[in-house]
Symmetry: C2
Subunit: 157 residues, 2 copies
């Protein structure tokens, strides 16, 4: 279970990144390991009446960013988090509301990330984020994010 108030996080995020306020985002679903962010089709259509690739890229990018930010907050780590690179594979159009979904990697990868971040003040983490319409994966993004400690560097091992 998660200690973070996900509704407060959503409000904070939309206050920080104005573009997200124009994407028809629904309530975030977060269980401490998986994050899902829904979006309405209407504000995200393209010339074909389907989901704009740029909207899908934005939703996937912020879903991965948010998952790691939630992890860092639950760990009490004060960090900047940036995206370093991403690969996006567009597989099928979406013609209705859609969502981005991502899961924390396995425990070993998360533990290594947190240990490296505490030791070195900086660490990368890779995520796979799906943009889905129902059960269909319309786009899959692989993203590498880098966390950089903001406070004084802690060396604990």
């Amino acid at each position: 279970m998660s200690q973070v108030d996900i509704a407060e996080f959503r409000t904070w995020l939309l206050g920080q990144i104005p573009l997200l306020g124009h994407m028809g985002l629904g309530d975030f679903d977060w269980n401490g390991r998986r994050l899902e962010i829904p979006a309405s089709l209407a504000p995200n259509v393209n010339d074909k009446g389907t989901g704009f690739g740029g909207s899908q890229a934005t939703l996937a990018t912020i879903c991965g960013w948010s998952l790691i930010t939630l992890l860092l907050r639950e760990q009490g780590l004060d960090c900047d988090l940036v995206i370093a690179d991403s690969h996006l594979d567009y597989r099928a159009p979406v013609d209705g509301d859609f969502s981005a979904r991502t899961d924390l990697p396995d425990t070993t990868a998360v533990d290594n990330f947190l240990k490296r971040l505490r030791n070195r003040g900086r660490a990368p983490l890779e995520l796979t984020i799906d943009v889905r319409q129902g059960d269909k994966v319309a786009m899959q993004m692989r993203g590498r994010y880098v966390a950089i400690a903001r406070g004084p560097q802690t060396v604990d091992s």
Copy 2:
């Protein structure tokens, strides 16, 4: 030189894709080979006050899409154009207004694309799109787009 009225194209595009209307896009610059689309920082900031990665991804994606759409219109080809996949390399933050810029590939690549499209009704084209702040390349995207003829397929060779 280009026959397309780029201001009309911009107006049409923003009417088709509502998200672009929230990104502070300036006038498009198009000379028949190179397209540049400027964006204001303010509507595209992130939590750090720099350019949001999702905005940069969106701007680069639509810049490449627009370049090929302009080429297709100048060739009188009626096509749907979709993005198939992309790789985004975030190199440096932007802390002011920025733009996306892309050039048509060399003549051989463009000729092969148009020939294949006319022959088979479908063809891919790869572009490199830079997101720049002044002379600095903040992000570089490599994108593969696929054009699909909408009208009856023409076989001319």
